[in-house]
Every structure is written in structure tokens, then in C-alpha cells.
């Protein structure tokens, strides 16, 4: 089984988010970058499926050389080889087209992405790839079972779950619960250095959207503390002042 895992290079979840250039660019100063946590779940699932010679795992990233440390981490976790499309990601359409054009030439059985990226919170790339390849997709998977030629996927719906099945190939966006995150061991870290990381030049693709400005949430006022002996007062405040109950 040939598996492709799409990974995004994102700020560590503990990062404080600030902007520069008059709030038009993300301030990367002092920010640690990691594999998008949902993509790491996808990667862990792929490695689990390929274990024991049952398949190969390729990771692909669209990014400049600053993504290489994150890609090496993915190789340390257990991917067999990596591809980096050498372009700064512009929008989901651009990224998905780059990945789809690589996937078209390489006949993958399974393409995994995270359910969304934690930076721009797009949940678009996976489903656009599927559309470009004209294959099925499931966007928010909680559980994935794979047989030789088919999958059974539990997907999240409001207040519950839905089980869908499909033949391979398919694109699946993974959420928590699909796999336990794999921690790279020393052997993995050593071998990651010598595993192939191919750098490809991007194909020409237009962009359909762009971010023009950022803002951070308005700070809230000082917290109003209610005496633990007077919880009724909280009820009145929520009713009379906040008007939420």
C-alpha cells in the first residue's frame, strides 16, 4: 500500500501569536515550528498501516527550506521518504494543486491530511486534492480502518458519528482518535538524516484568495469575582448584566 501524508509546518501550539508590517504578516520571531498536530496524527496512522513491510509512507510539504526540520521529524517518526515542493504556500488552491500534480504521477492508495491546519484553520487542501484527482474524500475522521482495497471511516457529525465505506484510493482528513502520536526513537532520528528528501519545483498555479490583514481578539475587561457563598449573585449577573441566560 502506497500512502501519501500531507504535512504543514505550523507554529507550536504554545506560541503567542503576534503580527508585523501593520498587522499584515505573522511575526515568526522566536516561534518554534512543528508538524501540524492533526497531520502528525495522519502520519502516525500511516506509519502504523505500513508497519511490517505492509506499505510505504511518503510525506509531502509545500514550503521553502525552513520546512526541512519539520520534514526530517516526519522521517524520524517513520515516513520512508519525503517530497518538498519548493514554494511558499499561498492559498489552499495553490497547495492542493501542487500535491495533486505529484499524486497524479505516483498512484497512491491512500492520501492522508490532518482535519485542518492550526495556523490558517483551513480545512480545504485534502478535499480539493480529492476533487482534482476525482476520488472520494472524508474530511473529519475519528477512526480509520483499512483493508487491502477499501476503507471504513467514522466521521464526526454534530452530536454523533457517521460510518462511511469506500474503495481506495481516497483522501482522509484525520482528527484526534485516529492514531496515537508516535514519538521518534533514536534509530528513527538517526535514519531520518539519510532518508530521501526530494525537492521539486512548483507547477504554475493561480491563487484564488489572499489574507489582507490580521487582528487579535479584543481584550476582555477585568474579571468580576463572585463570593463562593453567593452563587445566586452569579445567576443574576448572567441574567441581568451579561444577558446570556
Amino acid at each position: 500500500m502506497k500512502i501519501l501524508v500531507c504535512i504543514s509546518n505550523v507554529p507550536d501550539t504554545t506560541s503567542k501569536i503576534t503580527f508585523t508590517n501593520d498587522n499584515t504578516a505573522f511575526n515568526t520571531t522566536g516561534v518554534q515550528f512543528i508538524i501540524n498536530p492533526y497531520d502528525e496524527i495522519a502520519l502516525s496512522k500511516a506509519v502504523e498501516l505500513a508497519e511490517g513491510g505492509k506499505g510505504t509512507v511518503t510525506v509531502i510539504n509545500v514550503g521553502d527550506a525552513s520546512s526541512d526540520a519539520t520534514i526530517r521529524k516526519a522521517l524520524a517518526i517513520g515516513a520512508d521518504n519525503a517530497v518538498r515542493v519548493n514554494a511558499v504556500p499561498r492559498d489552499a488552491w495553490f497547495v492542493a494543486n501542487q500535491i495533486a500534480s505529484y499524486a497524479k504521477d505516483n498512484a497512491f492508495d491512500l492520501i492522508l491530511t490532518g482535519r485542518e491546519s492550526i495556523d490558517y484553520n483551513g480545512a480545504q487542501v485534502g478535499a480539493i486534492i480529492a476533487e482534482l484527482l476525482n476520488i472520494p474524500s472524508v474530511s473529519i475522521a475519528k477512526k480509520v480502518d483499512v483493508t487491502a482495497d477499501a476503507v471504513s471511516v467514522e466521521r464526526e457529525i454534530e452530536g454523533g458519528k457517521e460510518v462511511v465505506t469506500a474503495k481506495l484510493p481516497i483522501v482522509i482528513g484525520t482528527a484526534e482518535g485516529v492514531a496515537e502520536p508516535k514519538i521518534p526513537n533514536m534509530r528513527g532520528i538517526m535514519s531520518a538524516r539519510t532518508k530521501p528528501l526530494d525537492v521539486l519545483e512548483p507547477s504554475t498555479v493561480d491563487t484564488l484568495s489572499r489574507i489582507v490583514a490580521y487582528e487579535t481578539p479584543a481584550p476582555r475587561g477585568t474579571v468580576k469575582l463572585v463570593d463562593p457563598a453567593e452563587v445566586e449573585k452569579l445567576v443574576s449577573l448572567l441574567h441581568d448584566e451579561a444577558k446570556v441566560i
Binding site: 507554529p11 501550539t13 504554545t14 503567542k16 501569536i17 498536530p37 488552491w93 492542493a96 492550526i118 495556523d119 490558517y120 484553520n121 480545512a123 480545504q124 478535499a127 480539493i128 480529492a130 476533487e131 476525482n134 476520488i135 472520494p136 472524508v138 475519528k142 466521521r155 464526526e156 457529525i157 454534530e158 452530536g159 458519528k161 457517521e162 460510518v163 462511511v164 481516497i170 482528513g173 482528527a175 484526534e176 491563487t207 484564488l208 484568495s209 489574507i211 489582507v212 490580521y214 487582528e215 487579535t216 481578539p217 476582555r220 475587561g221 474579571v223 468580576k224 463572585v226 463570593d227 463562593p228 452563587v231 445566586e232 452569579l234 445567576v235 448572567l238 451579561a242 446570556v244 441566560i245
Partner: protein, 324 residues
Amino acid sequence: MSILVYVENTDGKFKKSAFEVVSYAKAIADNTNSDLVAISIGNVAQDELATLGNYGASKVLTVNTDQLSSFVNQAYASIISEAVKSTGANLLVLSNSFSGKGLAPRIAAKLHAALADGALSLPTIEGEKLTVKKTAFSNKAFATVELTAAIKVIALSPNAYETKETGGTVAVEPFTANVAATDFSTIVREIVRATDKVSLPEAEIVVSAGRGLKGPENWGMIEELADVLGAATACSKPVSDAGWRPHSEHVGQTGIVVSPNLYIAIGISGAIQHLAGVSSSKTIVVINKDPEAPFFKVADYGIVGDAFDIVPKLTQALKAYKGN
């Protein structure tokens, strides 16, 4: 501008998110002197379709075959794309629900359209130019995105826009679209839905608890409080990681991002990743025995005290209030 809005149903009933997207699209239609047409897929009764008029849709296109009774994202995407083309719409609005997330990018790709997913407020439209505010960095920030393609798609975050009844009637018109057999390549086998529980992403009130609860056996009082408020229950990451609660309840940067009217956090210290997931809540209440808990810094109201003492008292006080 010509606007099409996709209204999602659950077992033939429109959800709140459907009325939210119609209200949202209606506001855009009014601002731009446009007509608003809705599209509904699946088996929805006439009287249910009629409710859309009340939120401002003048016409609803309906597509209903046995094959379409459950959600198949490829087939639904094909139908909605066809409807965009046949109505000449240059803006499509739908909900950024779990199904909407699987649908919107496929539609956008078919139409070579620009998609803003997770939109939070009305767009600014000047001529051909459309910009809209959306969530970024899991609500640690917001981004204003400009959609530069000719056809634009907005997937609206649940709970971000209030429904508004305008009165009015809707004309129901059957719509047919060609759907390829390959568009039915996923098959729905089973749907499990907890009917007695409020769904977390759509909930107006959320009661959330953390490690301060000490163990899963203590969630009874959380559920009781949620019951009184008609709220959804949620939890912090350590709680779902420990298996005390399901992952679907995990609120935060790597879980579900919520924007309820009221978020009550009990025994959650307020790690930056958790705060990201709740920052667009309208009102935040924090109950924690540690006065130094970072959560108090972003709360509107707080009680410093033991959850095991406060929560049952609060439930009682709310019962008394609701009784009046």
C-alpha cells in the same frame, strides 16, 4: 451579485445553522440589492421548506432522490455546483459544519471559486471585491481574507451570526442535476446521534470541565449543570487524553473551537491552547480553586472556590431561577 445558500438538514429538519446561513445571506442580499435563492438536498417536507421564507429566501431549489437521503459529499458537491451555474450565482453561502467542511472545498474546486471557511461576520463588498473575517490560529487571532476569484464561497462558522426572522414566503422549485455514478463512491453505513444531548459546535451554552474534577466519575454534577442550562458538555485536552471524556468533547486549539454565548469553565487552569478554542465566546465564567489560574485573566465572571462545593450550589440556584 446573485446569491445561493445551501441549507443542510438532519433527518428532514433544518438545523439552527441552516437558518443562520439564510439570515447571513439575506443580509448580504439586502446590502447588495440581490436576490436570494436557497438549495436543499434530501427529503424535506413542504412545511419545513416553507420556514426558509421566514428568514428571507425567496426561492428554494429542492433535489430529492433515494440516493441523496444521506450525505455523500461528492454527489452533493456536484448538485450544488450545478445549481450555482444554473442560477448564475457568484456567491455561495453554506455552514462550516462538519459536513460543510467536507463539501465546500469540493464545490470551490469544481467552480474554480475562492473559499473562506470559518467566516465570522458579514463580508465587506465593494464592486467585485469581497473581504471577510475568519478564524486564524485557532481563534488566537482573526484574518481578513480577500476572495479574488470570480465565484466566491463563504462557509459560515456555526453560532457566529444570529438568525433573523424577516417574514415572507418561499417558492419551492424542484431542481435536477446530472450526478455521475462515481460521485456515489462513499456509502453511509451507520449514523449514531445522541438525540438527548446538545451538539457542542452549535451549542449556545457550554459547560466545560478539566483535571480539577479529579476523575471521570465526577462528571455527574457537570452533566446536571449542563442539563439545567440546556448546555453542551465539553472538556480540556488532558481530560480527553486520559480517556475520561471522548475526544469529540475536547475544546481547544487542537480540538473543537467554539463560540457560544456562555462558556463555563470548571477546574480548567487555562492553558494557551485551551484559551484559543474559547476566545470568541461572548461571556466566560471560570470556577477554579486557584486564584492564580490563567483562565481568570480572560474571564468575565469568576468564582474562586472548590468545584465540588460550587457546582451543585450553582445548579440549585439555576433551578430556582428557572422555576421563577
